[in-house]
Symmetry: C2
Subunit: 170 residues, 2 copies
Amino acid sequence: MFRQLGRLGHMSAPPLDPSEHRSGALLDHLARRMRLRSETVLAPLGLRPRHLVALTVLRAGGGTSQQALATILEMDSTNIVGLLNDLEAEQLVERRRSPEDRRRHVVELTQDGAKRLSEAECALAGAEDEVLGALDPNERETLYELLRRAAATTSPINCTEVICAGDEPL
Amino acid sequence: MFRQLGRLGHMSAPPLDPSEHRSGALLDHLARRMRLRSETVLAPLGLRPRHLVALTVLRAGGGTSQQALATILEMDSTNIVGLLNDLEAEQLVERRRSPEDRRRHVVELTQDGAKRLSEAECALAGAEDEVLGALDPNERETLYELLRRAAATTSPINCTEVICAGDEPL
DNA sequence: AAGGATCGTCTGTGCAGCACCAACTATTTA
DNA sequence: TAAATAGTTGGTGCTGCACAGACGATCCTT
């Protein structure tokens, strides 16, 4: 017995090279937890999680073309149309023709939109308390700031396949 | 004037009370960006994002019942079955009967599982570089640590509706 | 002026990730 | 012995997307 598993039974954290620390799965996990709660909290406000993401991006980014929005959200631009239709139907967002290029729409948050967004954020306090309960206010603010900065950059999807050395033996 | 909304027109960042900073939308946004990349990176390894989440939870948590896993992942327990079937089919995970309660399965990461997980994390380096490009290594480690700690706690879904004061007047 | 590219729109199709329900077995607890 | 619990199986259906095709409007070339 104990043949091939020299893993000592049950412990929590096998020594992990910090350079291999990946936030992806954690991000996924926490986002799910948050989204499940957001859905029910946001419903009475007539919003869904993706609407909140769009509003947040618009608040951070000012006037943006739908194309740009598709790039930022990394969604197909045909789906952006419907998303913006939802928001515009409730006057949370405004589509204006760009004066420089009349093909483009400049999408912008309205006052109503900003207000609704802030209401939503307020309503989400409880949800966040549950999901981020392990973090104190300072840590939450740090987290927020890191996420905000990361989300503020647009990255192309390249992602060349990398073969990692040092893993394959045994 | 400037009653409750001091925001004018179009600028990027209206003054936002730090206590209203919500990470939910950012979490959602970044998780999506990450997931889109993960899918293609993970595919050659025979994994999908949710598999990675499960493996990560198992590495962090040691032996867990499927019930507990459902609670942690906040997924319906019937879907946990299929998820674990996938993982067990590739021997990344082991279901053993619990000695104390023979109804239960104790799910545990195998050596193969730990190896595959670490390979996957390694392969995701490029994806993370793209998504978290705005953060330097120190900040990424901070982010990882915050996410890890937040994900380590299990929170019940209560989320009482809260009406925020100071928002409702026109 | 003419041709091609680009932006947004519309419609339609299809898939993946889930939740939810119902029924069943094996086991534990009351 | 009866009732509750853990896991499994199978089925249904919703939602959020991606993707493709076609179209008008508007650029940008040449």
